[in-house]
């Protein structure tokens, strides 16, 4: 995509997002914004997955685990009460540099928890480490082995969360405080800031689309595509394919964790299903549906489908929808439905509007 197409697409998407919000306001369905915001955060995970799967060609069936690691780390840190360590030496200092803060919990009593910013940074660090540790051996595996390894990783994280009381086991964690960003913006699920949060999520999505779009059209993007296309030749050209694959994997994990952190503060909690294999498979289905190597497609399609899913449009067939998407898209249109769709639209337009008229004097 050229720079100008990118600007056009960005503008168009922004317009659609604003229009959606205004439409919901006008029809009095403001509460739908909540699910739309959640869908946007899920779409951010899919963006990262697009980079890994569509560009670098590495399949990851465990990305839900990174979303969960990010979300759970910040949830645990911002809800765990450190009050009983009051007397310890460093605690006062930690409070003064805003790593620890005293706030009120649900019941109105004061608790000493880690501040959201510090928890966020911790979540990023934890995700980075885990992603690097898992990615290093996993990315040396081929195709189906990598798929199974990432699936296994996701399952282990899922089971560990379900089994540990610190993470709230099957109930998850709730009462996660809002996350105060800069300039008075606050990530929180409360109704007064609902619109604000919608635009925070959308703004992040658009920013990431621009940044990742830049990446993809650059030297690193070419390196990724080269690795996907023919790894041996990429190596022969001096690209350290293992290092590049790992970097991109870790980056996508960080994006998923970022989405997880914000999602958790927005909804006020997180549950073990976020790390489950069903969620991870959904992300893959959505990446495929948007066109594996199509960032904009991924963003739009995954927001849309997730929104419909959250609004219960698919009813009891919710899970089946994703299964069918996977089968149909990968089998029929591995590069995503947009290219064949565009082709079909062009053909239909030619049929409807006729061929261009030949110039005068032509034979």
């Amino acid at each position: 995509m050229s720079k100008y197409t990118q600007l056009w697409a960005g503008g168009l998407l922004a317009a659609i997002l604003v229009a959606a919000q205004l439409l919901l306001r006008v029809t009095g369905k403001d509460y739908c914004l909540t699910q739309l915001t959640m869908s946007v955060y899920y779409a951010i995970v899919v963006l990262g997955l697009c980079l890994v799967m569509g560009y670098a060609g590495q399949v990851s069936l465990g990305h839900g685990a990174f979303f969960a690691i990010g979300g759970y780390t910040s949830a645990i840190l911002t809800t765990a009460d450190f009050s009983r360590f009051q007397s310890l030496a460093g605690v006062g200092w930690l409070k003064s540099i805003h790593i620890l803060e005293v706030r009120q919990n649900l019941f109105g009593s004061p608790v000493t928890t880690v501040s959201p910013w510090a928890a966020f940074l911790a979540a990023m660090v934890v995700t980075l480490v885990i992603a690097a540790v898992i990615g290093y051996p996993a990315l040396r595996l081929k195709g189906h082995y990598l798929a199974m390894a990432t699936l296994g990783f996701g399952l282990i994280v899922n089971k560990l969360i379900l089994g540990s009381s610190i993470a709230g086991a099957a109930d998850g964690i709730s009462d996660v405080p809002p996350f105060a960003l800069l300039g008075g913006l606050m990530v929180s699920g409360k109704s007064p800031v609902r619109v604000q949060n919608y635009y925070i999520a959308c703004g992040l999505l658009l920013l990431l689309l621009v940044l990742l779009g830049n990446l993809v059209r650059s030297r690193m993007g070419r390196a990724l595509r080269a690795i996907h296309d023919r790894e041996t030749a990429a190596n022969a050209m001096g690209i350290n394919t293992s290092a590049v694959k790992l970097k991109v994997f870790v980056l996508s994990a960080l994006l998923a964790a970022l989405a997880g952190v914000l999602f958790t503060h927005y909804t006020g909690g997180i549950g073990p299903s976020e790390a489950g294999p069903l969620k991870s498979v959904r992300y893959v289905a959505l990446a495929a549906a948007g066109g594996m190597a199509n960032l904009w497609g991924a963003a739009v399609v995954s927001t849309l489908i997730n929104y419909l899913s959250l609004r219960d449009w698919f009813g009891s067939f919710d899970q089946a929808v994703f299964g069918v998407i996977l089968i149909l898209i990968i089998a029929l249109a591995p590069d995503g439905p947009l290219p064949p769709l565009a082709l079909w639209v062009r053909r239909a337009a030619r049929r409807v509007f006729g061929q261009r008229r030949p110039r005068h004097g032509a034979a």
């Binding site: 996993a138 195709g143 296994g152 399952l155 067939f317 994703f322 069918v324």
Partner: protein
């Protein structure tokens, strides 16, 4: 019961579960050898076998129900190959894995809608829930013997089929070198369909025989597929008989984990084995060290 007996109890339970994983693993291997596809929907064959048998058992005697379930699921396996996988030959391995995952989801959801989310089971083949035999100090249900016996016979028959019959040898030729097999006049398409049918049949049989012990429900397929896959690569992909060893090892390791760790971590052992094998020795215990060579069984 003293600790020795307890250990034996866990060991037997591990062998029982392990033999089911072995069957799933053999199914993986059969299909992988013949088609190069890793069929993640393998676990669903087990689930469908059990579900169908339970429904049929309401109308016909148990043996007929089991036989009927096996036949129907075998046909389904063949149907899947003919209608779906045959058309997908040119896809990459990554694509195929994702498609089969999608397939397993669809089958699972279809089962949910055809039956429901309730757990069900076949009656015990002999005796009932409280019958137990004492063997070497451990109390086991006769159903365990049914499981071990059926799987052992099934595996032996499969081995014999592949080694001694013309069709079986044709299948082995196909997995060794499909082009050469084709040039020798073997209908490789039929071999592929047969591999799906056999895998499905074996899986369904396992699903029936394990049903009284582990119960059958619509979601049981996916964990089975993953553990079966772990067993398959532990033994070495491409080596169906090593899959038996892999399955038993996974089952026993899982039983050992169950005896030590809190209940929630039951499944972690099998998944951890999966990761460990993949990271350390992807060609498995008995697989060839140099990548993609296909072993004959």
């Amino acid at each position: 019961m003293d600790s020795g007996d307890l250990a034996l109890q866990y060991f037997l339970s591990g062998i029982t579960k392990g033999s089911i994983y072995a069957v799933v693993a053999i199914g993986f291997n059969l299909i992988y050898s013949a088609t190069g596809i890793l069929n993640f929907a393998q676990g669903e064959f087990v689930m469908l076998g059990g579900m169908l048998a339970v429904t049929l058992a309401q109308f016909v005697p148990l043996p007929v129900a089991v036989a009927g379930a096996v036949v129907v699921v075998a046909c389904l396996g063949c149907l899947l190959e003919v209608s779906l996988f045959r058309k997908l030959r040119r896809h990459s391995v990554m694509h195929m894995v994702i498609i089969t995952i999608g397939l397993s989801i669809v089958i699972q959801e279809a089962a949910l809608h055809l039956w429901d989310e309730k757990v069900r089971s076949l009656p015990y083949f002999t005796g009932n829930e409280v019958t137990s035999l004492r063997i070497l100090g451990a109390a086991i249900s006769p159903q365990v013997l049914w499981v071990l016996g059926t799987v052992a016979i099934g595996v032996a028959l499969l081995h014999g089929f592949l080694k001694f019959t013309l069709v079986g040898r044709a299948m082995r030729a196909c997995s060794s070198n499909a082009e050469a097999a084709m040039l020798a006049g073997i209908n490789t398409s039929n071999m592929r369909t047969l591999s799906f049918g056999l895998s499905a049949a074996l899986g369904a049989l396992a699903g029936c025989v394990i049903s009284p012990i582990t119960l059958t429900h619509y979601e049981m397929g996916a964990p089975l597929a993953i553990k079966g896959f772990a067993a398959a690569i532990l033994g070495g992909l491409g080596n169906p008989m090593a899959a038996v060893l892999g399955g038993l090892l996974v089952g026993v390791a899982e039983a050992a984990a169950v005896s030590r760790l809190p209940a929630a971590y039951n499944d972690v052992a099998a998944f951890a084995i999966l990761l460990a094998v993949l990271f350390v020795r992807p060609h498995g215990l008995l697989g060839a060290a140099s990548g993609d060579s296909v072993r004959e069984c």
